[in-house]
């Protein structure tokens, strides 16, 4: 009974972890704007967390540089299941203008499964809200709660 309440309330308040994988900071600036009073993603109970071990949703941006690759994989493996990974912008899905560079591991879905991808360079904060709300739905499905 108590566990059920905890499970259901976790859906109402998913915690977000933001991971920069060598991004140009365009997506990061737009993403941080979501947490400001103007877009205020906390309306949906979403909260930014500092630790991957507390996270439900991982927001990932950047083309995954070779230097940061091992660390990113380590951080993502620390996120408890069920987790949802959201990718921001074109970079994680293809490499964008950095495609083919010696220091970029481009399509990120070779290393881990990306559930929701938001296109744009950078995506508009409204598009990011859409993406995160979709991620919450997927999280609901993964937890098996209607």
């Amino acid at each position: 009974m108590f566990d059920k309440i905890v499970e259901e309330s976790k859906i109402k308040s998913p915690w977000l972890f933001h991971l920069n994988m060598g991004s140009c900071n365009g997506c990061d600036i737009e993403f941080v704007a979501l947490l400001t009073p103007r877009y205020d993603v906390e309306r949906f109970g979403i909260k930014l967390t500092g630790s991957p071990r507390h996270a439900d949703i991982v927001v990932v941006s950047g083309p995954l540089t070779s230097q940061v690759k091992d660390r990113v994989l380590k951080v993502i493996s620390q996120v408890p299941e069920p987790k949802v990974i959201v990718s921001l912008g074109s970079c994680p899905m293809s490499g964008n203008v950095f495609k083919g560079s010696y220091s970029v591991e481009a399509p990120v879905d070779r290393f881990f499964h990306v559930d929701v991808s938001v296109a744009g360079c950078p995506p508009k904060p409204e598009a990011m809200i859409d993406g995160i709300l979709k991620a919450v739905e997927i999280l609901k499905e993964k937890r098996g709660i209607k």
Partner: protein, 138 residues
């Protein structure tokens, strides 16, 4: 003078919140916003200028087999890889590419974000050679 910010405090008590109620009230984009690509295959002439100008190589042209009527050409715009710089639309001589103001591009599958269109590029008219040696188009 005792209360320095009292004017703003009272003003903020009665003003609207600054938060945008986004998913409930849709927001309009500014003019000339570069969003999702729209492609008009009927205007395209397959010159390949957009492919040449695209810096992230997001545009591919797939050439089909040559038939009686002409060649089937499919243009694919991979929005997973697009930078939305609008260079393709600017350079297109027939204005067959347009960047709309649709900004919400959310996909759970990679292939959802590929915009494509195909058309048949007609063969050049066949030429008849006269007895006098002149060339005449039919």
């Amino acid at each position: 003078m005792g209360f320095p910010f009292i004017k703003y405090a009272i003003k903020n008590l009665f003003s609207k919140p600054s938060t945008e109620r986004y998913p409930y009230i849709k927001k309009e984009t500014p003019k000339e916003y570069r969003g999702k690509i729209k492609y008009y295959p009927d205007r395209c002439i397959a010159c390949g200028l957009c492919i040449r100008v695209c810096s992230p190589a997001a545009i591919t042209m797939i050439k089909g087999e040559k038939g009686e009527e002409g060649q089937k050409i499919t243009m694919q715009f991979n929005l997973n890889s697009c930078t939305f710089c609008k260079m393709c639309a600017d350079f297109c001589p027939r204005k067959s590419i347009e960047l709309t103001n649709e900004y919400s591009m959310v996909a759970t599958d990679k292939n959802e974000l590929i915009v494509s269109g195909s058309f048949i590029k007609k063969n050049p008219p066949k030429k008849n050679i006269n007895k006098t040696g002149g060339v005449q188009a039919v």
